[in-house]
Amino acid sequence: MDDGIGVDAKPKPPIEGRIYGEISGWITILGIVIALIGTFVSLASGNSIFDYNSTVRDLFSGCREYTIWVKDTVFHTEPYGYWFISKIGYGDGLAMLGIAVAIYGGIVGMVCLFAAMFRSKEVLFYKKGLYTLLALLILSVMLFCAWRAEFAL
């Protein structure tokens, strides 16, 4: 048909895309749930690294994040990389872990997408491997940014 609409059997979308969608989506949901639990723990028990009253006041005074971390947290300094790993016992530590899990969902999804491309030569070398290369490059940028978050402050 010249309008491009046919009556063929249902085509299956590429599995690498489905794998990326499912894995990154579910990990993101998991991360958000963990972040919510962590925040509720902080609010309910006061088991928090932040002094919330001054945090809220400083947030709406337009303070930079640096000032908030120095003035309103138990650290009294800027956070370093993945600081929350050593503070999981605090509600905020758990909340930040959840946020990190949600963010990392995209990287895990992209790793799985890349791995799924190896299932057949046809997919791996489709258009001379262009899409495999694109996936690899995107994954490299993501991993570089994640690495920089911990080691290049």
């Binding site: 006041r57 709406f60 963010i103 694109l134």
Partner: protein, 307 residues
């Protein structure tokens, strides 16, 4: 609904003086505001990122780095959950990878640029961000009025560059019960435009559905559904990398980010079920009004801070 949004803005702003009785009320105020932002945005056919960032930057004094980091986080969470459904059927993963690379690279550059502006130029940097975002938001509002999208664009000629990429992935369109085989064109133009859109997204902490959808639909001539669903996948990929500069600078404050992101997500979820029962056209007008109102306010605040 506009009244509800503005009321929620006032609830959040009323906490500015530090007389907050409890942090829980702050949590629920931010959640409520973001719930309505997500609700309106999804009914009007966009993501909540643009509304969230422009309303919070325009009407509160929360530092732009914190708002932009939260806006990007909201964009990531919303689009990832959407992408999970879209990639099972309509979204085109090849277009997502092709446009996702320039978008990702420039979104990361934009994020560093945005942080550089606020850290090294202080108040002037913040004013510049508000001023530029104001113009962008007014432009987005205008685009929603004047840019007409095409459900099944027709193509007369395909350029050789796009043809060589083999981007087309046919999909089954349930509403007509048929398989749609579509052709694409002007991939190189879309790649160039995605560089600019990625930079804007990273710099201002916006989702980019307002731009990438039309690029895929109007420039590449993909069917409307393919364009909107694929744009969500591209944002979910690109903004994952772009959020790390904000993440490492400590711009994500859990007590603010968690209710904002969950509010936007729940609002979007409720909105998607409400959308089928109400006339989205009127909600779209409300969205445009809010965008132009917030944009003008951002321009005003930006200019005020500069002088």
């Amino acid at each position: 609904m506009l009244f509800l949004v503005l009321s929620a803005v006032n609830i959040v702003r009323s906490n500015e003086n530090g007389s907050l009785a409890s942090s829980a009320s702050f949590f629920f105020s931010v959640f409520t505001l973001c719930f309505f932002i997500g609700l309106i945005a999804i009914i009007a056919g966009t993501g909540g990122g643009v509304l969230f960032t422009s309303l919070f930057l325009g009407f509160t004094s929360v530092h732009p780095d914190i708002i932009r980091a939260t806006g990007l986080l909201a964009a990531i969470a919303g689009t990832r959950i959407g992408a999970r459904t879209y990639l099972r059927s309509i979204a085109n993963i090849r277009i997502a990878l092709l446009l996702g690379l320039p978008y990702t690279l420039f979104a990361v550059l934009g994020a560093f640029f945005g942080l550089y502006l606020t850290k090294h130029f202080g108040t002037f940097g913040i004013a510049l961000i508000k001023l530029l975002l104001g113009f962008i938001v007014v432009g987005i509002g205008m685009a929603y009025i004047f840019v007409k999208r095409s459900e099944y664009p027709s193509i007369t000629a395909v350029d050789s560059f796009t043809q060589k990429l083999g981007l087309e992935v046919p999909y089954f369109e349930q509403s007509i019960g048929k398989v749609v085989n579509y052709k694409l064109r002007h991939a190189w133009v879309a790649i160039l435009l995605c560089c600019g859109v990625g930079f804007i997204s990273g710099t201002f902490g916006l989702g980019a559905g307002w731009a990438i959808g039309p690029i895929i639909n109007l420039i590449m001539s993909a069917p409307l559904k393919v364009a909107t669903t694929t744009s969500a996948v591209i944002i979910s990929i690109g903004d994952t990398a772009a959020i790390f500069p904000y993440f490492m600078s400590g711009s994500i404050i859990p007590i603010f980010a968690v209710p904002a992101v969950t509010g936007l997500m729940v609002g979007a979820r409720v909105g998607s079920s409400v959308a089928v029962r109400i006339k989205a056209r009127y909600i779209r007008y409300i969205l445009v009004l809010i965008l132009i109102f917030a944009g003008v306010r951002l321009i005003w605040v930006g200019l005020w801070m500069m002088v």
